[in-house]
């Protein structure tokens, strides 16, 4: 089974290498949303630093959502999803492999670029490690929960909007704890509890996603 998952991971990474836009687009989108925010609200440092945590988290969530739509859709359209499902391994291993690549391609770059974003939004520098840590625990959760929606809308026309509707409500807890942890760190408060909750949600998503997305793919 490990070899099966590895075959999927390797194939998807090869595809990203052939088409790097898949990786760059969500990143550019993330930057754009961040850049538009001060233009729409105000460039004042005091206001921005106060709202930075929430803005970064919401933008990260939107960027993840944007790329989730194609998670299974491309494979479904060219028939390779059928071939993946035909292999004699449980469908949850397929889901895990796909989600891992998705996070590697869309989540990880966001984390790496987040210090830059934090500076642009005047987030206090002592909160930056917390921001990165919360994103590190939180973005895999976003990818996992999103995979459920992506699997459900795979064969459906116009799935993008639908995916957003299905998944955003499930993202509420992650957003709340993710953004609050950064805000707390900015105020110099302890963040241990937040990280524990985020980690708990990650474990929880890891438990429900493989089953539900796997069975949704087989509909």
């Amino acid at each position: 089974m490990i070899r099966y998952m590895w075959a999927i991971v390797r194939r998807d990474l090869l595809l990203v290498a052939r088409q790097p836009a898949e990786m760059i687009n969500p990143l550019v989108f993330f930057l754009l949303v961040i850049a538009l925010f001060p233009l729409g609200v105000s460039p004042e440092a005091a206001l921005l630093s106060q709202t930075a945590a929430g803005v970064i988290w919401v933008a990260a969530m939107l960027a993840t959502l944007l790329s989730l739509e194609l998670l299974f859709k491309l494979d479904h359209d060219d028939g390779s999803l059928e071939q993946l499902l035909l292999a004699p391994y449980p469908s949850w291993s397929l889901v895990l492999a796909k989600v891992f690549v998705h996070w590697l391609v869309s989540g990880l770059p966001l984390i790496l670029i987040s210090p830059l974003i934090a500076t642009m939004l005047f987030l206090p520098s002592h909160a930056v490690p917390t921001l990165m840590l919360s994103l590190l625990i939180g973005t895999p959760t976003l990818s996992l929960l999103g995979a459920i929606g992506a699997a459900l809308v795979t064969g459906v026309r116009g799935g993008g909007m639908l995916l957003t509707l299905l998944i955003l409500p499930l993202y509420v807890p992650v957003i709340i704890f993710g953004a609050s942890s950064v805000a707390a760190a900015a105020q110099g408060m302890a963040i241990g509890g937040y990280m524990a909750l985020l980690a708990a949600m990650f474990v929880f998503a890891l438990m429900i996603t493989p089953w539900s997305a796997g069975s949704a793919l087989k509909l």
């Binding site: 639908l162 509707l165 709340i176 609050s180 429900i208």
Partner: protein, 254 residues
């Protein structure tokens, strides 16, 4: 899910037979209709005209008799939908999927009622229609969950697949609801905006809570009525051509 050899009582499998369900639901339907109409009218009249006013909120608290049932039902229907969906997935029971799908519209309606009446109630109580109160916020999220399921159902044209998709989403949603509620409540205490919750009452005289009991029970009956009606029409649609249905008196008109 593939192995469904668990032993279940006979009635359980009977429920799964469209023919049996159709007949049984047909018997229950008028009783639920009468009960719903009676209980809701009784409760509403009592609550509107006879129950004493609240010493703190005055007459606006009468909104409770429609807001609280709607709020309770919005959550129980979601749970019911998930249970029906799980039964459908485990025992491959088509009727269970139909029941799950029948829950969507009525559940979304109750959620919308809870939201709007909550907002209207907020105006005389908090002085604003919308406050980011924990309960209102989590009800809003619940409404979004319903909206998602509804949209997904409309997007999938094949009935079988739509039923299973509804089931999976309802189960995932139900597991998530407590987490969402907890996180929203926690978030609310962090950004304390209102310390005064609408319906938290330490003790109520019988005159005040009995109407509430009536409207809650009436709402459950109405929910049951609508689900039975919708499930029956789905059975008719899926079984069109089955000999039992062709000979049924609903069709022959006898």
């Amino acid at each position: 899910m593939t192995e469904s050899s668990w032993r279940m009582p006979r009635w359980f499998h009977q429920m799964g037979s469209p023919k049996w369900f159709y007949g049984f639901a047909g018997i229950l339907q008028p009783w639920f209709a009468i009960a719903a109409l009676g209980l809701l009218t009784w409760g509403a009249v009592w609550g509107l005209a006879f129950a004493p006013a609240d010493y703190q909120q005055g007459n606006s608290f009468r909104i409770m008799y429609v807001h609280v049932p709607a709020a309770i039902l919005s959550q129980s229907i979601f749970l019911g939908m998930a249970v029906a969906g799980a039964v459908g997935l485990v025992w491959k029971m088509k009727v269970a999927f139909m029941v799950a799908r029948s829950c969507i519209a009525i559940g979304a309606t109750f959620t919308a009622i809870a939201l709007v009446t909550g907002a209207i109630w907020g105006k005389p109580t908090w002085g604003a229609y919308w406050v980011w109160d924990a309960r209102l916020t989590s009800t809003l999220v619940l409404f979004f969950l319903y909206a998602g399921i509804m949209a997904l159902n409309q997007a999938i044209s094949e009935r079988h697949i739509a039923g299973k998709a509804t089931a999976i989403l309802a189960i995932v949603g139900t597991i998530n609801i407590p987490i969402i509620k907890y996180s929203v409540e926690w978030w609310n205490t962090l950004h304390q905006s209102s310390s005064f919750t609408l319906t938290a009452k330490p003790s109520m005289p019988a005159d005040m809570y009995l109407p509430l009991l009536l409207t809650v029970l009436g709402s459950y009956c109405l929910f049951a009525l609508v689900v039975l009606m919708r499930t029956r029409s789905q059975i008719v649609q899926s079984q069109s051509g089955a000999s039992w249905l062709m000979q049924h008196r609903d069709i022959t008109g006898a």
